[in-house]
Amino acid sequence: MAKIIGAVTTSHIPAIANAMANGLEETPYWKPFFDGYPPVRDWLNEKKPDVIILFYNDHGLEFFIDKKPTFAMGVADEYYNSDEGWGIPTIPPVTGESDLSWHIANSIVDEGFDMTICQEMKVDHGLTVPLNLMWPGHQYGHVKVIPVCINCEQYPMAQPWRTFELGRAIGRAVASYEEDINVVVFGTGGMSHQLDGERAGFINRAFDIDCLDKLVSNPEALTKYSNMDLVEQGGAQAVELNMLIAMRGTLLGKVTERHRNYHAPISNTGSGLMLLENEMPTAE
């Protein structure tokens, strides 16, 4: 049977891609951020997951507000990045996992999550930056990725309790997949930040650290927040915490924190890197 063996939270901001493209990892500004990553890379290289389920939000590459799905997922064999408006260099395609994707879609729609199912889906920095952080030099082609995209842009948005339940449904779907494969889930984005308005630049370090603590041991507490609470506590774009909450929902076993590196600011954001292991109770 398929197993979710662990999960990672990570930032996905475009400035990281620029820093990596320009070799700035060892500069004083970036070093405290990048220094957090080797233990997570080592863990991934040791565990060699077959599939990554990656929660992110599209920032206006694939989806526009002409039609804005609350939840969307890819079921393709391959995904492409494209120009997001800054003329960034095109990067190698991301490998998909169609069979498990359809299995998840079948299972969660039957449970009541009316997912938009995409056979073509351009993936933006929200998805590609985390992959390149884990496998630098865009060496992520060997791992199969299932993109799950949550609307974090236009209200109404799914509330934290709902994104947590989405995660749980995906966790159950994976557990019912017959092939013996290992899955790792990425929750990307956040944490506290605000890009727009006179309140731009807002960061709440204490809130971020409390959220990371709760993601480990008391995720239900996070589901008590509304999106408006997240905006109040963490800034307008802290609604991206929904990706981390959804990730945590997928972990149905015993969860252990293996690594953490919180650093702020990176660009305008608080960055929370965390590695969690998920141990499922033995069957029988």
Partner: protein, 120 residues
């Protein structure tokens, strides 16, 4: 008229709800088009004509002319699409932060550092 999503308000924050999405539709559609180099070139060649093509209101055109990010937010711009407009102007998120808060880019970065350390 689209109704507001919530009656909660946060100072200096423009929640992008149905009312704003309706008001800003043409503006955001124009900014979304900037994903393509051809569109960026067309805007740069004749900004007024390009704004007209997307039926921007006078207030939106004025805010585009003045690179007035707060004005664009008030007129229904979503920051994710506005970022494509400001990217076209070669402004990064700290430049935009400075513009919105009345600080220089360096002052804004210094505020981020203080906020990041939890000093606020």
């Amino acid at each position: 008229m689209a109704s507001n999503y919530t009656d909660r308000k946060f100072q200096g924050t423009y929640l992008f709800d149905g009312q704003m999405a309706k008001k800003g539709y043409g503006l955001n559609k124009m900014c979304y088009s900037f994903n393509d180099q051809i569109a960026r070139d067309a805007f740069n060649a004749d900004p007024e004509a390009y704004c007209e093509k997307f039926k921007l209101t006078e207030a939106q055109k004025e805010a585009i002319r003045n690179k007035d990010v707060i004005g664009l937010l008030r007129e229904g711009g979503s920051i994710y699409y506005l970022a494509k407009f400001t990217g076209l102007l070669k402004l990064n998120m700290q430049d935009i932060g400075g513009l919105q808060t009345g600080m220089s880019t360096d002052e804004f970065k210094a505020m981020l550092e203080r906020n990041g350390r939890g000093e606020v």
